[in-house]
C-alpha cells in the first residue's frame, strides 16, 4: 500500500525539525558560553596569583632576601582552596610549593623544554582524578643577575567540570523535551490549522445527487482556501447545471415517449376488444407503424445527442464547399417549399473543413425549420459568407412570426417548442435545432438566433482560426 502523505504529519515533522535545529544550536551556544565564563574566571584568579608571585619575586634585590620568598608567598596565598603554586629556581630546585603541588614540577619540566616564552598559554591537564587549569611563567629577579625563577599556578577545576557535565545533561534533557513538546504543539497547530480543510471534506461528504444545491460557506473559509472553495463551488454549480439538464431531459424524454406509447396501447387494446374486419386491422397496423417510426427516429436522435453530450461525436473532416451543399439542400426542399408557396435562395460562397453528412444535417434542420415557419409567399435567404480568419458564417433568415425573447433563448433546448399546444403534426420531436447545435459545437463552432420584428435569423459560425 502506498503511504499517503498527510499534511498534518508533514507540518509536525517540519515543526520538529525546525525547533530541533534551533534548540540544539542554542544548547551548544549556552554550554560554550558557560564554559567560557568559567575559564575566564579561572584565568582571572590564576593571573592575580601570578601577579602576586611576580611582585614578591621582583622585590628580591639581594640573594639574602631570597629566603623570605616562601614566607611572603605563603602569606599571600593562604586560604585559597584548590589553588596550587610552585616556584622553582634553575635546576628544578623548589623554592616554594603549596601542599600537593608536586605535580607542577613535572609540568614545568615538560614546559621548559619548549621554546622559552616568558609566559605560557593557559593549559588544562589531568592529574590523577582531578583536572587543572594553569599557567607557567618565568619571573626575573629585581637584581636581574640570577637566572629567573619559574612560577606555575594551577587551579583545580574538577568541580567546574562536574558542574558542566551535569549542566550539559540537564540542558540536553530540556532540549529533548522542548523538541517533543514543539512536535506535539506543531501537530496540534497543524490539526487546528487544517480544520477548514476537514470542514470542506465534511460538506463534500454531504453532497449527493439530491443535494447538489449545497455550497461551501464562502465567508468562513480562510483566505488560503478561498480559491479552492470557490473552484469547488463552481464545480458544484456546473455539476448541478448538467445534472438538472440531464434530469429535465430524462423527464422530457419520458414524457415524449409516453404519448406515442400510450397511443399504441390504447389503439391496440381497443382494436382487440372485439372482432374486426381485416381492413380495420390493417388500418390499425398502419397507424401503429407511424408511431413506431416516430419512436425509432426519436431514439436515434436522442442517441445522437447523448453521444454529442459525451463528446463522442468526432467529425470526419473533409473540405466542404458550402455553396454546393446549400444548393443541394435547397434542391431537396424545393418541392416542399414550392408546395408551401415559399421561396428559398442562397447568396455568397465559402468552404469549411468538416463532416459533410453532419454539416448537411445541421443546415437541413435549419432549412426545414425555416420552411415550416415561413408564411405563404415568404422568402427564405441562406447567406454563406467567408470571413477570412473568422471562419465562415452561414445564416438562414426567414420571415415569420416574431419569437418572444424568452423563447428565443430556449430554442436550442431539447423538445422545446415555442407553442406548447402545437402538437407534432408534420413536425419533428423538437430535437432538430438541438441536433444542429450539437453538430456545430462538435465542429468547434457556435450557433445563435436573433429575431427582429418579423424576421428570424439563425447564424452558424465555424472554422475560426486561432
Amino acid at each position: 500500500m502506498m503511504w499517503r502523505k498527510s499534511i498534518t504529519l508533514r507540518l509536525t515533522l517540519l515543526f520538529v525539525a525546525t525547533s530541533a535545529t534551533v534548540l540544539v544550536a542554542l544548547g551548544t551556544v549556552i554550554g560554550q558560553a558557560v564554559e567560557a565564563h568559567f575559564e575566564e574566571q579561572d584565568l582571572a584568579e590564576i593571573n592575580s596569583k601570578l601577579e602576586i608571585a611576580r611582585h614578591t619575586i621582583a622585590k628580591v634585590r639581594a640573594p639574602a632576601e631570597m629566603d623570605a620568598i616562601p614566607q611572603h608567598l605563603g602569606d599571600a596565598l593562604i586560604g585559597h582552596h584548590g589553588l596550587s603554586v610552585a616556584v622553582l629556581a634553575s635546576g628544578n630546585r623548589t623554592i616554594f610549593a603549596t601542599p600537593g603541588a608536586d605535580f607542577l614540577k613535572e609540568l614545568i619540566a615538560t614546559r621548559s623544554k619548549e621554546a622559552g616564552e616568558e609566559r605560557s598559554r593557559p593549559l588544562v591537564w589531568e592529574s590523577g582524578e582531578r583536572a587543572y587549569r594553569g599557567i607557567t611563567m618565568s619571573v626575573p629577579f629585581g637584581t636581574g643577575a640570577e637566572s629567573p625563577f619559574t612560577v606555575a599556578v594551577a587551579l583545580d577545576i574538577s568541580h567546574h567540570r562536574e558542574f558542566m557535565i551535569s549542566f550539559r545533561k540537564t540542558l540536553w534533557i530540556f532540549v529533548a523535551f522542548a523538541i517533543l513538546l514543539t512536535g506535539f504543539l506543531g501537530w496540534f497547530a497543524a490539526r487546528r490549522g487544517l480544520a477548514p480543510v476537514r470542514n470542506i471534506a465534511q460538506v463534500a461528504k454531504g453532497i449527493s445527487a439530491t443535494r447538489l444545491g449545497d455550497r461551501l460557506p464562502h465567508e468562513s473559509v480562510p483566505a488560503e482556501l478561498a480559491d479552492l472553495a470557490a473552484s469547488f463551488n463552481d464545480m458544484l454549480g456546473r455539476l448541478e447545471d448538467s445534472f438538472r439538464r440531464l434530469s429535465d431531459f430524462s423527464s422530457d424524454l419520458a414524457h415524449e415517449l409516453r404519448t406515442p406509447v400510450s397511443n399504441l396501447m390504447t389503439q391496440t387494446h381497443v382494436a382487440l376488444s372485439r372482432p374486426r374486419s381485416a381492413e380495420e386491422y390493417r388500418e390499425i397496423l398502419y397507424s401503429n407503424i407511424e408511431e413506431y417510426d416516430r419512436l425509432a427516429r426519436m431514439i436515434a436522435d436522442m442517441l445522437f445527442l447523448a453521444k454529442a453530450d459525451n463528446d463522442l461525436i468526432v467529425p470526419h473532416r473533409e473540405n466542404i464547399d458550402l455553396a454546393t451543399e446549400v444548393d443541394e439542400l435547397i434542391g431537396f426542399y424545393e418541392a416542399l417549399a414550392d408546395e408551401q408557396g415559399v421561396r428559398v435562395s442562397r447568396i455568397g460562397i465559402g468552404s469549411i473543413s468538416g463532416d459533410r453528412l453532419m454539416i448537411r444535417r445541421a443546415i437541413s434542420n435549419l432549412l426545414s425549420n425555416a420552411i415550416r415557419h415561413t408564411p405563404r409567399g415568404g422568402a427564405i435567404k441562406v447567406e454563406v459568407r467567408d470571413l477570412g480568419n473568422d471562419g465562415v458564417r452561414i445564416a438562414v433568415e426567414n420571415p415569420g412570426q416574431a419569437i418572444p425573447p424568452e423563447h428565443l433563448r430556449r430554442l436550442f433546448d431539447r423538445f422545446y417548442r415555442v407553442d406548447a399546444c402545437r402538437q407534432r403534426i408534420g413536425e419533428g420531436a423538437g430535437l432538430g435545432l438541438a441536433i444542429t447545435k450539437s453538430i456545430v459545437e462538435a465542429h468547434g463552432g457556435a450557433i445563435s438566433v436573433s429575431a427582429e420584428r418579423d424576421t428570424v435569423r439563425f447564424e452558424i459560425s465555424m472554422g475560426m482560426t486561432g
Partner: protein, 226 residues
Amino acid sequence: MKILIIEDETKTGNYLKQGLTEAGFVADIARDGMDGAHLALTEAYDLVVLDVMLPGMDGWRVLQEIRRAGRDLPVLFLTARDHVDDRVKGLELGADDYLVKPFAFSELLARVRTLLRRGKTTEADVLRAADLELDLRRRRVTRSGKRIDLTAKEFALLELLLRRQGEVLPRSLIASQVWDMNFDSDTNVIEVAVRRLRSKVDDEFEPKLIKTVRGMGYVLETQESP
C-alpha cells in the same frame, strides 16, 4: 435466392424469416454464431443477415470466418449500437452494408435487394412499366406515347422506382439515392416529391403506377396488389 439470418433474438429472427420468406426469398435462421458460421460455410447462400451481438461467437468473428474461408457472399450486419467504430469495424472486416436497430423492415428488404442486385445490373437504355417509358440515354419520359417533362430530380426518382419495380422503397432510401441525404430528415419532402411526380406521370393515365404503401414507402408496380 437463399438468405441466412444469424440472429439470437427469437422474435426478431422469426419476423425477419417470415418477412424475407414472404418477400420471395428462402430464408434459414441460425441462433448463434457457431451454427451461423457453420451454415454460411457449408450451404450455398446468396446473402447473410448478421447480428453483431451473438452469444458465444460474436458477429465479427462469424464475419471473419466467412471472409477467411474466401467466401465473398454479401453480408449485411445489424447493430443495436450506433457507434461509428462499429460501422467502420464491420465494413473493414468485409461487411457490405449495415443497419442500426430499430430499422424498418422495408429498409432491410431494400438493402437486401440492392446487395443481391449488385454487379448484375442490366444496362438497359429504356426502362418500362406498362405504357410508361423512361429513356436513359435521351433523358426522356413518355407515357402512352405522350412526352412528359420532368425536373432532374423527378427523373432520378422515377428512374429509381422503375429500376426497382415491385419493391417497396422506404422514404429514407429514396432520400439517400435521389438527393444523397443520408440522414433521417423528418419532413414530408419525399411525400411532396412523389406526389408531384405522380401528378405528372399518373394523374391523367390508367392504370396508376406509383403507389403509396402506408407507413413503409412507395412502390411502382403494374398490377394491382392483392
